[in-house]
């Protein structure tokens, strides 16, 4: 066997430089787009989180009486007051304005049809 048969020189697929040239410029642009898209997504998420009211399960809050802080409010009493048996609870909350007092009302159980 001849040496050149062992290592024949092959032609690379056509259009190599065209493909290569196309790969030279898009990279930075793509990374810019990626950065811009990531930034926009993060900003959108932050805006949504800030704009949306906090989701508080009032039923649990009223039962446990410890989640008023999630509303940015301080409970006046240690425990919510259960009214009408165990059907609902009310809790007094202080706001940042001393002349405003809020009451949080939570329905603990949906009354049965006959009880309405």
């Amino acid at each position: 066997m001849k040496r050149e048969e062992l290592f024949p020189v092959l032609e690379p697929p056509a259009g190599g430089w065209g493909r290569m040239k196309a790969r030279l410029r898009p990279a930075p642009r793509r990374s810019l787009w990626l950065a811009a898209a990531s930034g926009a997504a993060a900003a959108g998420l932050a805006a949504a989180l800030l704009a949306a009211p906090p989701v508080v399960d009032l039923t649990v809050a009223a039962r446990v009486g410890v989640t008023a802080g999630l509303l940015g409010l301080e409970p006046e009493g240690a425990e919510p007051v259960i009214i009408r048996g165990e059907g609902a609870a009310v809790q007094r909350l202080n706001s940042s304005n001393p002349s405003v007092v809020l009451y949080r009302l939570a329905v603990l159980e949906v009354p049965a049809e006959g009880e309405r």
Binding site: M1, R3, L6, P12, G16, W17, M20, R23, L24
Partner: protein, 171 residues
């Protein structure tokens, strides 16, 4: 260099070295599409590092990048094959088999097997010496080995190939 001069320099480099780099990488991967991709990735690395490249003498760097990428690709492929049935599929699809093609395929397969059987450090030397068009000096720079080692490894590699494939005529 200006951006336009950079691009012109790179174009000339690519046009001059695309074929030898492709041929070297092909002897690692034995797949034209993958060899083309790896060739382009190697040039892309050089392009991205153009500020630090010796513009007068970039060949060893291009081939070193290409060999590293080809070796990585080969390792990834071997790892992949550990978890798939790809080798079985390869064997199950011999393609068209007229006698001449079969004979050529047999001979091609024997050459491929003999080259693949070489230890990687011998294979790198012999493939670069035979296909890159670089001098021993440049091959030694590409592989970061002494020039004398290039010569001895090349001799060892050719001797091993001769044992596998029979005596070779030197053109």
């Amino acid at each position: 260099m200006t951006a336009r001069a950079d691009e012109r320099w790179f174009e000339l480099l690519y046009l001059r070295l695309e074929k030898p780099v492709f041929n070297v990488v092909y002897r690692w991967l034995w797949n034209a599409d993958e060899a083309r991709d790896v060739t382009q990735e190697a040039f892309l690395k050089v392009w991205n590092a153009r500020g630090r490249v010796d513009a007068e003498h970039p060949d060893p760097l291009v081939f070193r990048a290409a060999l590293n990428l080809a070796s990585n690709r080969l390792r990834a492929r071997k790892l992949w094959r550990l978890f798939t049935l790809e080798p079985l599929r390869d064997r199950a699809d011999p393609g068209p088999t007229p006698e001449a093609a079969l004979e050529a395929a047999k001979s091609g397969a024997a050459v491929r097997a003999a080259i693949d059987a070489l230890p990687e450090k011998l294979k790198a030397v012999v493939v670069l010496c035979e296909l890159s068009g670089m001098s021993y000096q440049d091959v030694s720079a590409a592989l970061r080995i002494p020039v004398g080692t290039v010569g001895s490894r090349r001799s060892q590699a050719l001797a091993a190939l001769e044992r596998s494939l029979g005596a070779m005529e030197v053109a």
